[in-house]
Symmetry: C2
Subunit: 364 residues, 2 copies
């Protein structure tokens, strides 16, 4: 009888971080595309845009003005999803096991949201920035993490988890091209992160080891899903990747959060971020859209939360075949299960083979 062919036969892979499955249909990459195409990003963006509300010195939507900053710049989000002060929400449970008690569960959520400009230059993106300037971005994240942790400790602020992320490109809902990310700080650990912590905990109880520590070892032996590597980090297409060119940057040794980073780790992360995003841009010769973010220990973590945390970053890019054709996670994916059209190994192989020099810059 024929052998199962992972590069052609449909299979499901288990994601131990989220405790869920994804469907892999490698032969589907062959189908024709008649649907929506993304508009490729504009190729001539000025270094300074007087209409941009993130450029140095400019007015913001809500009135105030930005300082003439020369490196990174952090400010409170003008349209924050959570706020520090709001009335407390009384416990809703009547104690009588009513239908409402059973089915309507709600918590008030306080916190704060920040915007982090990566550079004063309007027309840069992470792959176009110097490694030393990305080092500064990481230091800025680190500073924010430490500062909010201190405010929680000293001033009793409702800050428990800091979700640092970047939406890049109009395809990822980014409303401003100026290089920037966000950081939302909440009094609760968000669902995705708390699911990872559950998985870390379960894994530790079962194997007396760290899930991501073991996974790093496995990938370093296997090598088929490694895209990049340096002393401190591994860039891999995880075995259970959902998005076509999804990657993870994982610390090689246990590091709970950026607050624990050495300067060497900061340099190494800056270098991985640069090299990975250059490959991304080169893949389809476009300014490659993605959402990316950091997963790490909650602020002021102790006990299991500190011991189980393992710094990593997720990159979720939507493009599938070209600068204009993306993967849609719709219908079956929303109702049934995520589905992908090429294997993680195929994606890693393509990314690995790409040049480390930014070709796209030449076309700008």
């Amino acid at each position: 009888s024929q052998e199962f062919d992972f590069t052609d036969n449909s299979h499901r892979r288990y994601n131990p971080l989220t405790d869920s499955w994804i469907l892999v249909s490698p032969h589907r990459a062959k189908r024709p595309w008649l649907g929506q195409q993304e508009t490729p990003a504009k190729s001539t963006v000025p270094e300074y845009d007087e209409k941009c509300f993130l450029c140095p010195g400019n007015k913001r939507v809500t009135g105030g003005a930005n300082p003439k900053y020369e490196s990174t710049y952090v400010f409170q989000n003008d349209f924050a999803a959570v706020k520090i002060d709001q009335p407390a929400l009384a416990v809703q449970d009547s104690g009588k096991d009513t239908l409402k008690d059973r089915l309507i569960k709600v918590q008030g959520v306080r916190g704060n949201c920040f915007v982090i400009c990566f550079s004063p230059k309007h027309n840069l993106t992470i792959p176009q920035m110097a490694v030393k300037d990305l080092f500064t971005v990481i230091s800025t994240w680190q500073g924010l993490y430490n500062d909010l942790a201190k405010q929680a400790r000293d001033d009793n602020k409702p800050f428990k988890y800091l979700q640092i992320f970047e939406n890049k490109g109009t395809a990822m809902g980014c409303s401003n091209l100026h290089p920037h990310g966000q950081a939302w700080c909440l009094e609760e650990i968000p669902s995705e992160v708390s699911q990872e912590f559950k998985s870390f905990d379960k894994y530790k109880h079962a194997h007396n080891a760290d899930l991501l520590g073991d996974y790093v070892k496995l990938e370093m032996e296997d090598r088929s899903r490694i895209v990049l590597e340096n002393d401190s980090f591994l860039v891999i297409v995880p075995y259970w990747a959902v998005w076509p060119f999804e990657t993870m940057i994982v610390a090689k040794t246990k590091t709970p959060s950026i607050a624990h980073f050495t300067d060497k780790q900061k340099e190494d992360l800056a270098s991985m971020m640069k090299q990975l995003t250059v490959k991304y841009d080169n893949l389809f010769e476009t300014s490659f859209p993605y959402s990316m973010g950091l997963h790490q220990a909650p602020l002021n973590a102790t006990g299991d939360e500190l011991n189980n945390a393992w710094f990593h970053m997720h990159f979720y890019p939507p493009l599938l075949r070209s600068a204009t054709v993306r993967k849609f996670l719709v219908g079956f994916e929303m109702l049934g299960e995520p589905q992908r059209d090429l294997t993680a190994e195929q994606a890693a192989d393509r990314l690995r083979k790409l040049d480390g020099v930014h070709h796209y810059t030449e076309n700008l």
Copy 2:
């Protein structure tokens, strides 16, 4: 002290179907929009398009031709994500508790995928179809469900769960405007559905009742989230909705699957589908994009799978403020937790107030 205001203060709501939380930030609806805009759908589509590979009599991508069908038409997907025949995948566990045994979990997946044309007319959509023709669509789904169940029973085909769905509009990755849906039949219950079954089971053990049965009762008392109602079905914006105008059509009485539908239920479902999608089109005066699908009992279900199943449909539409401005579930949503900008009650209220007559048709 001030009272908590659910229409303004941030809170998290629990989704008992998926066992996860979503963040609600009602004040966010006020922020300005500078990002990507969808291209509104073309307004003059012909009844027959000679280039469409779904129109009656036309050639398909892979060669064959469609019959000159006059009602609905079902055929096997030319680019099926799963196939009936593929080599079996041997169990991968070495039994030695290696890192691979711990972290690399995989299953082969067989099945079959179908396309269901809702109408021979290229330029119709569900809200523009007659209720009697939607009745026929439901009968077609029912026929497929029964037929595949029979093939599984009699011919040992690898068919366990039939996921029926529709992606409508280019914003939802739909590659062809011709009114059609899909049905993917797998030998495993997909993640989303099996998570619902886990929740049904947990709820039954805790309360000796059906989760959706109790939820229907609650919504019928509360009424603030009901959009439409008839003898057999309720259309609600669920308390835990993620997408701005997400809805569920839920059977009022326990009905495991479409195979169990009476003619009256089929008529009532056709009517709800029509009325709901007309409201959707009227909301932003556009052909409203969405992914929708049916959740129901697995094929040939017995025992708990049959007893816990409760027929319902989910509608996941992406639009937020207009025909061209959608909600992006990106950055924070992917890394942290889904977030929405208006409450379920606000969304239900807007949908409820909309006319039941299709205004958009006049603009076509």
